[in-house]
Symmetry: C2
Subunit: 246 residues, 2 copies
């Protein structure tokens, strides 16, 4: 892990860009984080639109997390941003858009092609990032995951024992195979659903919530579209992470 | 409204029992409530099991509300507790229990007989209680409703303009006719659903949430049965009321 640049905000939060092999990422640490008082870490999930495009929302979430005493980090997804194009993923995305424009139901085959390879490649990268991040003196456990792509969150929550709790954003199509993985998830979950999310399947999101094996799971559904998560819902998700990680 | 007894708790909360005509009720006021600084009011809804049986849970909710600076009040439902028996309601309840014991689907006809007359009689009583409560010097607006019977909450939220926000507990069967009333509700809503509530119809609760006409509505679904609402879900509902009533 190599730090490539850093800046400090007015509120004392330190933002450091890094690379991990070919993967760019960003780490935010609160002013309270030191070698003798390391901060718990939240991995910030995001859709595959590129870190640069997602930056304004990510930095807002990171500074909210820092206000609660958390470090936060994210990495670029494979095929996104400045990383090499991924033709198969681009094709699946084009096929999805075409089906939606045509008003056709989105077939399972497209969802599988769009999501499963991304999960397969991204999850080991998140775990490698976790190794690197937790080796820093000012970052400690426990670790939470927060955001989408929800299928990445499901896989991570199931296979990565260092993740103690997760906020999952039910805002993307979920392959059938992920429902079986959801049943294996046992950590506390806080699931966010936007009730009128145009590109999402509401019933599938409810079925997925039902499938999770966790003893503590909460669904927060709010009126509005994909990007309209209300401030109070973000606050409630933050409180969930404070309750489980501090 | 006649006060019949009072006691003050360690935390300074004043509990006063009252009667309003033949209807018994309880009012709790925080120590901060005075004639010059009146407290906003939360009406505490509850199932028709009698105030005496519900008292432990009601007083806990009232003291939580008082800690947030709210007064809280509740009244006995018609046919419950020490009020005159209501044969038709008892019969509907017996029919419901028999259907559930027999593992039969609960017919709409039973639900209508069980809930609609209760709504018809209870809602004017709650409104009369509201008149009396708001005439007290230490009680002011705005007013919230919190709890079940959800159909009573729906009707109150639709017809009573003094109610500014409501926490509705989706834990009882809802007559079809109430879905039309739900579409007319426009105040901010916070709906609680216990995901594994044995006597409740989960899909109907989700449909009802969908039907509400409010621009701000939030569903909090938590794992567990009817009476297993987690503490953190109660806290979140309290925060909703603070956000809208203070």
């Amino acid at each position: 892990m190599h730090f490539t640049s850093e800046q400090r905000f007015d509120d004392g939060v330190l933002e450091r860009s890094f690379t991990l092999g070919e993967i760019p990422g960003i780490l935010w640490t609160p002013p309270s984080a030191t070698a003798s008082a390391s901060a718990p870490l939240i991995l910030l999930g995001h859709p595959p639109l590129g870190l640069e495009k997602m930056y304004p929302r990510l930095v807002a979430r990171a500074r909210q997390a820092a206000a609660d005493g958390f470090a936060a980090a994210t990495i670029e997804l494979p095929g996104s941003g400045d990383r090499p194009r991924w033709r198969a993923l681009d094709q699946a995305r084009a096929d999805l858009r075409q089906a939606m424009r045509a008003g056709e139901p989105v077939g399972e085959e497209i969802v599988d092609r769009l999501v499963l390879p991304l999960v397969e490649r991204a999850v080991p990268e998140w775990r490698a990032a976790l190794d690197a991040l937790l080796s820093l003196p000012d970052i400690g456990g426990p670790v939470g995951y927060s955001g989408g792509v929800i299928s990445i969150g499901i896989r991570l929550a199931g296979v990565e024992p260092r993740i103690a709790a997760a906020v999952l954003f039910a805002g993307s199509l979920v392959p059938r195979a992920m429902f079986d993985e959801a049943r294996q998830v046992t950590i506390p979950l806080h699931v966010l659903l936007q009730w009128d999310d145009e590109g999402n399947d509401r019933q599938a999101a409810l079925d997925l919530f039902d499938a999770f094996g966790s003893k503590e799971k909460t669904l927060h559904a709010n009126l509005g579209g994909h990007s309209g998560v209300p401030q109070f819902a973000g606050d409630a998700a933050a409180q969930f992470l404070v309750r489980h990680l501090k």
